[in-house]
Amino acid sequence: MSAKTSQRVAKTLCWVAGLSTLALLFFLLFYVLWRGLPAVNLRFLLSKPESMGRSGGIFPTIVGTLALTLVAIVIAVPAGVGTAIYLTEYTQESTLTRLIRFGTDSLAGVPSIIFGLFGFVFFVITLKMSWSILAGGLTLAMMILPTVVRTSEEAIRAVPHDLRQASFALGATRWQMVTTVVLPGALPGIVTGIVLGIGRSIGETAAVILTAGSSLGLPTSLLSPVRTMAVHFYILAREGISDQAAWGTGAVLVICVLLINVVINWLIGRMVVRR
């Protein structure tokens, strides 16, 4: 093959790969919305499921999803942002920081089913939390921790160095400098990490089903078992309880994912503009 032909063939193939991936994405989104949206209305969102989810709505699963996500965020964000602050502002590259990074990177690669097994034996059984919002939320917090650490660290590093110097020159202590200069500057990036974490919490199934259970009741406390939307979707779909209700739940999930991505891109856009 001549150089010119191979150039043309390769370029065409790469275009085909790029465009067909986009086509695949749009197909996925439109297919789920097309199958699911007809079932979604205010009553579907705000009423309780009847006969195992065959009819009725998904309200308790929305509450369950929100509760789990909230617990996960409340725990993972201080831990994750704190780790990022320590790594960037309080220490230099050393064996210790490499060890901490190794832990973060490895945790990011651990499959959700392993988190599920761990959460089950540790939170549910050993700490006697039973299947609950607390056990599920703590498990999710561990899962999203690496995301929060990475995005926060990147955002904090992007804050210009002279701003820190200026703050020190004005007599600020390190912590004052962090809270008045670094964190406000890195806020959009940190929020991006949080929103990514929310996205992961909403879509997670394997870890949640083993730690929060699949009870369809409305939770009354942090120790109540709940069923999230993703788990509800899985059970309806897999056990063939109701395709219509399953796709309806799936459509709500996909809409959440789309909204989250819009927010993230808006935030990233803001960061780029400011720099």
Partner: protein, 282 residues
């Protein structure tokens, strides 16, 4: 000043949360799983092909092979496609298109795995059955669904490493009269190879560890597969399905399966971090 010191120590403590989590997970998964591996014997556990919890027979060979089939298939479909997309966005696409494509590829990563599973079940499986034969739910279906799921990992890391190749490399090759594609193939890709390999290893980890999507499309038959159209069970799908009701030794055997999975994943994580450190040094 006391307050500053206190804050420093608190942050140090917090900084260990990820590492501590990893340690706790390792400890508890091994504590639950290892005794059964010892009882059955490592060799018989891994190379035994009979899994009958009711008779106390625990061999996970068919699941290991099932996992290998779907993961290898996912890489066969996903890596060429993902690298091609990365080359497209980094080298060929006009900047405006690249700016639009990047967030869309990331959107692919945000779609919950159960959605991939159910779309695979309703769209892909009937077509596999009609056009290729077999029962439908199969290693092939699992591989195709996983290939899409690992695309974001492969595309984003490969693209970053392609972009990180210095401009002068390209200019040098082009100045010598190479076409754009010769430049990419002979200069850019070799220079970006450690990043691309890292993306493949991380994608592989995702494919091996994925559970819910796989459960929905592979059929979960407990036999050693001989064709990609046969139904398989993977390490993860078996844990995901049987944890719902397992007790006693059966449950411990599922944790033992988790131990095997965990060791594979940690080995992949470590090679990925060695690999990316190699590229950072260059």
């Amino acid at each position: 000043m006391f307050r500053e010191r206190l804050i420093r120590y608190l942050l140090l403590l917090v900084a260990f949360s990820a590492l501590g989590s990893l340690a706790l997970i390792t400890l508890f998964i091994f504590k639950e799983g290892l005794p059964l591996i010892v009882k059955v014997g490592l060799w018989r556990f891994i190379f035994g092909s009979d899994w009958s919890p009711s008779r106390g027979s625990f061999g996970i060979l068919s699941m290991i092979i099932g996992s290998l089939w779907v993961t290898a298939g996912a890489l066969i479909f996903g890596v060429p496609l993902g690298v091609a997309v990365a080359i497209f966005t980094a080298e060929f696409a006009p900047p405006a298109l690249t700016a639009a494509v990047r967030p869309l590829i990331q959107l692919l990563a945000g779609i919950p795995s159960v959605i991939y599973g159910f779309v695979g079940l309703t769209v892909l499986i009937p077509r596999i059955q009609r056009y290729l034969g077999g029962p439908g739910p199969s290693a092939l279906a699992g591989a195709m669904v996983l290939a899409v799921m690992i695309l974001p990992t492969i595309v984003s890391i490969s693209e970053d490493s392609i972009r990180a190749v210095p401009r002068e490399y390209r200019d040098g090759a082009l100045a010598l009269g190479a076409t754009q594609w010769q430049t990419i193939w002979r200069v850019v890709l070799p220079a970006a190879r450690s990043g691309i390999l890292t993306s493949v290893i991380l994608g592989m980890g995702r494919a091996i560890g994925e559970t819910m999507a796989v459960i929905m499309v592979v059929g979960n038959a407990l036999a050693i597969p001989f064709s990609p159209l046969q139904s398989v069970t993977t390490l993860t799908s078996n844990i995901g399905l049987e944890m719902a009701y397992a007790t006693g030794d059966h449950r411990r055997a599922l944790f033992a399966t988790g131990v095997v999975l965990f060791v594979i994943i940690m080995a992949l994580s470590m090679s990925a971090s060695v690999m990316s450190r190699g590229s950072a040094r260059r």
